[in-house]
């Protein structure tokens, strides 16, 4: 029982990341009809927004400390962050400690602008081109983006810790009346799960309860008719591209403490997220979210010792295996709509 609960919990945070990325992919595909292979790179850029904010907040001035020596035996240059000298050590160090949550404020406008510029500057020229062209150009863009990140930040993973107050783990087993240490779960992963649920809820509410969202949903159902009604649907779809980029970016920012960001992290998620979209059903937002969580949990179960000893290598293929089974039994995915990518 406890092992079962533990793997469900483990799957939730990974599933949260899959769901957020797949949600963005589906938003772009559902609105603009573009298969965006650069979406993983947007997730990675989001994570590097967290790194950038952490570095900005940690900007320091150097003072010589003659009592300590550096590696060459010279007086040590001690770095003191500016925020600590401006606001005092306690407040300054707290600001630096909370750099990842603070990075959310920085990431939203950056990613919205980035997504908007990407759509206007590149993607719009590929609307009428085959999906293969879109895949090639967005995949190329992903490689360019990751090489740019590597140029500025290097190839090594960069530690981006969560706030001190949210560090450590919860003994959920004790809360549920089980033995101590039966279910231990990091606090930050719970934060990530609730954060992603909030973002997903926010996106659905935005599409469901605002006029803008209503127009977008109408455009997703029948773009031509909405256009004939005199609504500039292209402009709204461009904004949706920016929102999808921001969702991927936010998924990346909050994921930075879980996996130290490196330039390649987007690619690690990209392929799996596409499988999630296909399993969920192309163009279906609830399908993307459902499949994200389902596959995350399934992957978690497949990584248990019991599973890997029963079927060696199952942890590496389970998602693709499920994708094959779903596509054979439900060709449109779990919640796919008729007519999407079937022309």
């Amino acid at each position: 029982m406890d092992a079962f609960l533990l793997q469900i919990l483990n799957g939730l945070d990974k599933g949260s990341a899959y769901a957020l990325i797949a949600l963005g992919l589906t938003l772009i595909f559902g609105t603009l009809g573009v298969v965006n292979f650069a979406h993983g790179a947007l997730f990675m850029i989001g994570a590097f927004c967290a790194v950038t904010v952490q570095r900005i907040l940690s900007l320091s001035y150097l003072t010589e400390d003659p009592t300590q020596k550096d590696f060459l035996g010279r007086p040590l240059q001690v770095a003191t962050p500016y925020v600590e000298s401006w606001f005092g050590t306690d407040i300054g160090s707290a600001i630096i400690s909370w750099s990842v949550p603070l990075a959310i404020l920085f990431t939203i406008p950056i990613m919205l602008a980035f997504g908007y510029a990407m759509e206007r500057g590149l993607i719009k020229y590929f609307y009428k081109r085959p999906h293969a062209d879109q895949i090639l150009v967005t995949f190329g863009l992903a490689i360019v983006l990751q090489e740019i990140i590597k140029l500025f930040f290097g190839a090594n993973p960069i530690q981006t810790p969560e706030p001190d107050a949210l560090r450590g783990s919860l003994d959920i087993g004790i809360l549920l009346g089980l033995d101590a240490n039966a279910i231990i779960y990091p606090i930050w992963r719970l934060v990530y799960f609730f954060f992603s649920v909030a973002i997903i809820g926010g996106i659905f509410a935005f599409l469901q309860f605002t006029t803008f969202g209503m127009v977008v949903r109408a455009g997703m159902a029948d773009r031509e008719t909405v256009g004939l009604l005199g609504i500039n649907i292209d402009r709204r779809f461009t904004i949706m591209f920016g929102i999808a980029a921001a969702v991927a970016g936010l998924a990346g920012v909050m994921y930075a403490p879980i996996n130290s960001p490196n330039y390649h992290m987007g690619m690690d998620f990209l392929v799996l997220s596409f499988v999630v979209v296909v399993v969920g059903g192309m163009g279906s937002l609830p399908g993307a979210v459902l499949a994200g969580f389902l596959l995350g949990i399934l992957e978690s179960f497949a990584s248990t010792t019991w599973a890997t000893t029963t079927i060696p290598g199952i942890n590496q293929i389970v998602i693709y295996l499920v994708a094959i089974i779903i596509l054979l039994t439900r060709p449109r995915g779990l919640m796919g709509r008729k007519g999407v990518m079937e022309d």
């Binding site: 090594n156 530690q159 240490n181 992963r189 879980i258 490196n262 992957e299 990584s303």
Partner: protein, 449 residues
């Protein structure tokens, strides 16, 4: 009237035989001196094959910096670095055997096929006499095989698998870096002293040659100290999230987690293990501990605060106080503004050792160089007296046990030196079962002739 016995045909025949007789030794001599990329001009080239792209690009960059510095020192530029402390004095700062040393670089991309392609290009197109560097055991074994076939010397970079100088050893290849067996032999007594002999270990192991050999070595060494191994779980090399593997650890009855991971794997698995609160827990009435058998400075930098208090081992570290280490740290630090990493030191030392072996052999012939390196004992390059063992071309020297520093003062001050394990404690016979047993053989040296 006299009659001459000389005839035109007879003179021609005698001349041909005599000419062949005179030329014969020359033919043999010229055959003997012909070897792959025999230098003819006033310069000689070596190739530095390191990861310049991919996940280990930063480590490759540090190796390149060190190798460039070594070339400068060999050519008499800069302050000479470790040449001033090296026990052999065959190099005089004028290049090698009167020829200036030049280098070309290749990108291994940390992929065996790409590494072989770049090494092949450097051998065939650039005419290099030696290939040096790299940051993976898979790459090292692949390139070592290529250099053996091509008839040039290979000096492996960061490769820690037992196989490189074990079952995959080659006559043309040498390894300055230590190996998984030596890490385990150095670490186990320190771990037993720090954590006690009644411990139960759970291993997470990267699922490829290096991970397997390290796990095997650490398990054997810790069990010899009285530890029990509860489980060993193989994790795919491409894993980034280890939560599914870490979560069951606390419930397994284990009180130590051994992470047989390197690079991004290590950064992520260690960070996540700390996030799961493993180090704050008590199991079997003891504090739960984490061990990372192979440390590198760049990985420690990536893992940040998570390395604090965690034991591991290193081939070399800039904090050593011997004259050789201090000379390199000064040269490297003044030129690049940071202390050299362990892999940088390995590549630097290997470049000097190759040049020195050529100078001592008086020849660039790879087999003469191999002979000069085999059984070579020296000092002054860090780690104290050092031996390049003739039987398997493995370097033997003191091994460092490190611990993540609790209160680092700057970005380079992440690890502290706990113990220098003497060379004799990490030695093993060349036919040790973990190194291919009696069947492992260097084969014979190939000069490419």
């Amino acid at each position: 009237m006299s009659k001459s016995n000389f005839t035109r045909r007879g003179v021609l025949r005698t001349g041909a035989v005599a000419g062949a007789g005179v030329a014969l030794p020359t033919i043999f001599t010229s055959r003997a001196s012909a070897f792959t990329n025999e230098p003819t001009g006033s310069t000689v080239k070596v190739g530095f094959n390191v990861p310049q792209t991919g996940p280990y690009a930063d480590e490759g960059m540090d190796e390149l910096r060190a190798q460039e510095l070594a070339v400068q020192h060999i050519n008499g530029e800069g302050d000479g670095g470790m040449l001033n402390t090296f026990s052999s004095k065959a190099l005089d700062g004028t290049g090698i055997l009167g020829k200036k040393l030049e280098f070309v670089t290749g990108d291994t991309q940390t992929k065996s096929d790409a590494a072989r392609a770049s090494a092949k290009s450097m051998i065939e197109k650039d005419g290099v006499l030696m290939i040096n560097g790299g940051s993976s055991s898979g790459v090292a074994v692949a390139v070592q095989g290529l250099c053996q076939e091509a008839g040039i010397v290979f000096m492996a970079g960061l490769t820690h698998s037992n196989d490189t100088t074990g079952k995959d050893r080659k006559a043309n290849g040498f390894r300055h870096f230590f190996n998984a067996y030596m890490s385990a032999a150095a670490l186990a007594p320190v771990l037993a002293k720090a954590y006690g002999k009644d411990r139960r270990a759970y291993h997470l192991t990267a699922d490829y040659t290096w991970g397997w050999t390290q796990q095997e070595s650490v398990q054997a060494a810790t069990e010899a100290m009285g530890w029990e191994t509860v489980n060993n779980v193989l994790t795919p090399l491409a894993s980034t999230d280890f939560s599914s593997y870490i979560a069951p650890v606390l419930n397994s009855g284990a009180d130590v987690l051994v992470l047989n991971h390197y690079g991004g794997n290590m950064v992520n698995s260690l960070t996540q293990a700390v996030q799961f609160g493993l180090r704050d827990k008590q199991v079997n009435g003891k504090n739960f501990e984490i061990v990372v058998p192979l440390y590198s400075e760049l990985m420690a930098e990536g893992a940040g605060e998570s390395v604090r208090g965690v034991y591991g081992s290193m081939n070399w570290n800039w904090q050593l106080t011997d004259a050789g280490t201090q000379a390199l740290v000064k040269s490297f630090g003044e030129k690049y503004g940071r202390p050299p990493s362990g892999s940088a030191q390995t590549c630097y030392v290997q470049t000097l050792l190759y040049a020195d072996a050529v100078a001592r052999a008086g020849s660039f012939n790879p087999c003469a160089v191999v002979e000069a390196l085999e059984g070579f004992e020296f000092d002054g390059m860090g780690n104290g007296p050092t031996l390049y063992r003739a039987e398997d071309h493995q370097c033997f020297k003191d091994v460092l046990v490190m611990k993540g520093k609790e209160t680092p003062t700057n970005q380079f001050d992440l690890l502290e030196l706990v113990e220098i394990t003497p060379r004799n404690q990490v030695e093993y016979p060349p036919n040790h079962p973990m190194f291919g047993g009696d069947e492992a053989s260097l084969g014979s040296c190939n000069d490419g002739a």
